[in-house]
C-alpha cells in the first residue's frame, strides 16, 4: 500500500505542492488531473524518488521513501514525460541496462522481456537504435523498461501524449492488465485516458488536492456527466473556495 501524508514541496518561495495526502492500494488506477502548472509533475517526481518533499511522508508498505530510497525504488517503475532514453542504445540494450540496475537475474530478465515485448508489440524494433524510433515505440519501450523488474507501483507522467489511436489501445490494455496486481498512478490532462482507465481521480489545482474521488462520482458532479465540464468547473474556481 502507498500512503502519502501531508506532502508539501517548495521551490524557494513558490509553494508547488501543499499538504497532499492520499492512499493507494493494489488494483487502483489513479489519474492525477489538473491544469498546467498545478503541481502534477512535481508530485509524480516526488513519488518516483527524483525530488524530495519539503514536508510530509511517502510510505510504501510502511517504509519511508526518503530514508530507504533505494529499497523503495526497487518496487517502483517510472515513466517520465516524453520517455527520455539514451538515443545511441538499441531497445534491447536500454531494457537490459534498466534490468541490470534493478539487479534482475538473467533468466528472469529473459522471461520478463518475452512477456513485455509480446504484450507491447515491441519484438520487431528491439534491436533498432532508439534515436530512429517513433514516439509511440519509444513510449512503449519506456513502459517495458519501467516494468522489467515487475514493480508493485507504476508511475507515469503524461503517458499517452502523442500516441495514435492504435498505440493508445495497446497502452490502455496493458495498463489495465498491470493494475490487476499493482498500483498505477498517472498524471495526465487527457480526459479520454481518464475515462477509459481510471478507478480514482485526484484533482490538483495550484498545488492543492481539491478532489479525491472515484471516476464515476467525479463525472456525476455535473448534470451533463461530462468529465471536461467537471474539470473546468472545479479548476476555474480557486482551491480555497472549494473547501
Amino acid at each position: 500500500m502507498l500512503t502519502i501524508k501531508g506532502l508539501s514541496k517548495n521551490f524557494g518561495s513558490i509553494e508547488a505542492l501543499s499538504d497532499i495526502s492520499f492512499k493507494a492500494e493494489q488494483g487502483d488506477i489513479i489519474s492525477i488531473l489538473g491544469p498546467n502548472g498545478a503541481g502534477k509533475t512535481t508530485l509524480i517526481r516526488i513519488l518516483s524518488g527524483i525530488l524530495s518533499p519539503s514536508k510530509g511522508e511517502i510510505l510504501f508498505d510502511g517504509v519511508e521513501i526518503s530514508r530507504n530510497r533505494v529499497d523503495v525504488l526497487r518496487q517502483i517503475g517510472y515513466i517520465a514525460e516524453n520517455s527520455p532514453m539514451y538515443g545511441d542504445m538499441n531497445g534491447y540494450e536500454f531494457i537490459k541496462y534498466s534490468a541490470a540496475l534493478h539487479q534482475i537475474p538473467k533468466p528472469q530478465f529473459n522471461t520478463r522481456l518475452e512477456v513485455l515485448s509480446t504484450g507491447l508489440e515491441l519484438k520487431d524494433i528491439l534491436h533498432r537504435r532508439i534515436s530512429e524510433l517513433s514516439k509511440g515505440y519509444r513510449h512503449r519501450l519506456g513502459i517495458a523498461s519501467a516494468l522489467i523488474h515487475n514493480p508493485k507501483v507504476l508511475i507515469m507522467d503524461e503517458p499517452s501524449e502523442g500516441l495514435d489511436p492504435n498505440q493508445k489501445h495497446i497502452f490502455q490494455k496493458f495498463i489495465k492488465d498491470f493494475a490487476a496486481k499493482g498500483i498505477v498512478l498517472m498524471s495526465t490532462h487527457i480526459l479520454e485516458d481518464v475515462s477509459a482507465l481510471s478507478s480514482r481521480i485526484l484533482l490538483i489545482n495550484q498545488g492543492k488536492l481539491i478532489q479525491d474521488t472515484t471516476s464515476t462520482r467525479f463525472r456525476y458532479q455535473m448534470p451533463e456527466h461530462d468529465l471536461a465540464a467537471v474539470f473546468r468547473n472545479l479548476t476555474l474556481r480557486s482551491p480555497s473556495k472549494e473547501k
Partner: protein, 238 residues
C-alpha cells in the same frame, strides 16, 4: 566496486567507444604530446633518460583533454533528460558517481597508455632511468585521477557541454597554480601533507621523489571532487 557501480562503469566506458569521439580525443592527446615533447621539450637535443621533456608538459595537456573526456558524464544526462531515468533507478548516488568516475579514469589511462611506445623506442637509443620514468608515470596517473574527480563534479553542475568544458578547464588551471595544501590540511586535519601547489607536488614525481604525502594530496583532491559530485546530485532532489 559494487555490482551496481560496475554496471554504471561498463555502460559509461562503452559510451566512450560509440562513434569516433574516443579516436578524436586519443589523436588530439597524442598529437599535442608529441609536439610538446619533441618541439617545445627539445626531446632530440637533450639527454632524455628520464623523459623529462615528455612529463614536463603533461599537467597542462591533461588540463585541456580531461575536461573533454568528462564533460558528457552528467551534462548529457541533463541535456537528454535521462537524469530522470537514472535518478528513478534503485542505485545509490555513490554508485552512480563512482561508476561514471571510474569510466572516465580508465578511458584516460588508456589514453596515457598510448604514450608508452615513446618509452619503448627511446630505450633503443638511450640508457633509460626506469625509476624516474615509473615515478613520472605514477605522477601522471595521479594527475589524471584528480582531474577526473574534479571534472566529474563540474559536469554535474551544468546541462551545456561547452559551459561544462570551460568551467572544468578554468577550475583545473586554477587548482594547478593555486596552493591548496593549507586548505586541505585544515579541511582534513592532515598536518603531514607536504607544502606546495599542485604543480610542485607533480614535479616531485618527475624528479623521481615518490612521497606518500604527495600521493595523499592527489587522492584527497579526487575524493573532494567525488564528494562535490554526490552533493550536487543530492541537491537536484531538493
Amino acid at each position: 566496486m559494487t555490482s551496481l557501480t560496475t554496471i554504471v562503469f561498463k555502460k559509461e566506458l562503452q559510451d566512450y567507444f560509440k562513434g569516433l569521439m574516443s579516436c578524436f580525443i586519443f589523436a588530439v592527446y597524442v598529437g599535442i604530446t608529441l609536439i610538446t615533447t619533441f618541439y617545445f621539450g627539445s626531446f632530440l637535443d637533450t639527454n632524455n633518460t628520464s623523459l623529462e621533456s615528455f612529463f614536463r608538459f603533461q599537467p597542462e595537456i591533461l588540463a585541456m583533454i580531461i575536461p573533454a573526456v568528462c564533460m558528457h558524464l552528467w551534462t548529457d544526462e541533463y541535456r537528454l533528460g535521462t537524469i530522470e531515468f537514472i535518478m528513478s533507478q534503485p542505485v545509490s548516488y555513490t554508485s552512480l558517481v563512482t561508476g561514471k568516475f571510474f569510466a572516465a579514469f580508465v578511458f584516460s589511462l588508456l589514453m596515457l597508455f598510448l604514450t608508452l611506445p615513446l618509452v619503448f623506442f627511446s630505450s633503443f637509443y638511450l640508457d633509460m632511468d626506469g625509476g624516474r620514468i615509473a615515478s613520472g608515470y605514477l605522477g601522471c596517473v595521479l594527475v589524471v585521477l584528480s582531474f577526473c574527480g574534479i571534472c566529474c563534479a563540474v559536469s554535474a553542475l551544468s546541462s551545456r557541454p561547452i559551459v561544462t568544458y570551460l568551467m572544468s578547464f578554468f577550475t583545473i588551471w586554477g587548482l594547478m597554480y593555486f596552493n591548496l595544501t593549507p586548505i586541505l590540511q585544515k579541511a582534513f586535519g592532515l598536518q603531514y601533507l607536504p607544502s606546495g601547489s599542485f604543480m610542485q607536488q607533480y614535479i616531485n614525481f618527475i624528479s623521481g621523489q615518490i612521497n606518500i604525502g604527495s600521493v595523499l594530496y592527489f587522492v584527497l583532491l579526487t575524493l573532494l571532487g567525488l564528494w562535490i559530485n554526490t552533493e550536487a546530485l543530492k541537491a537536484q532532489r531538493v
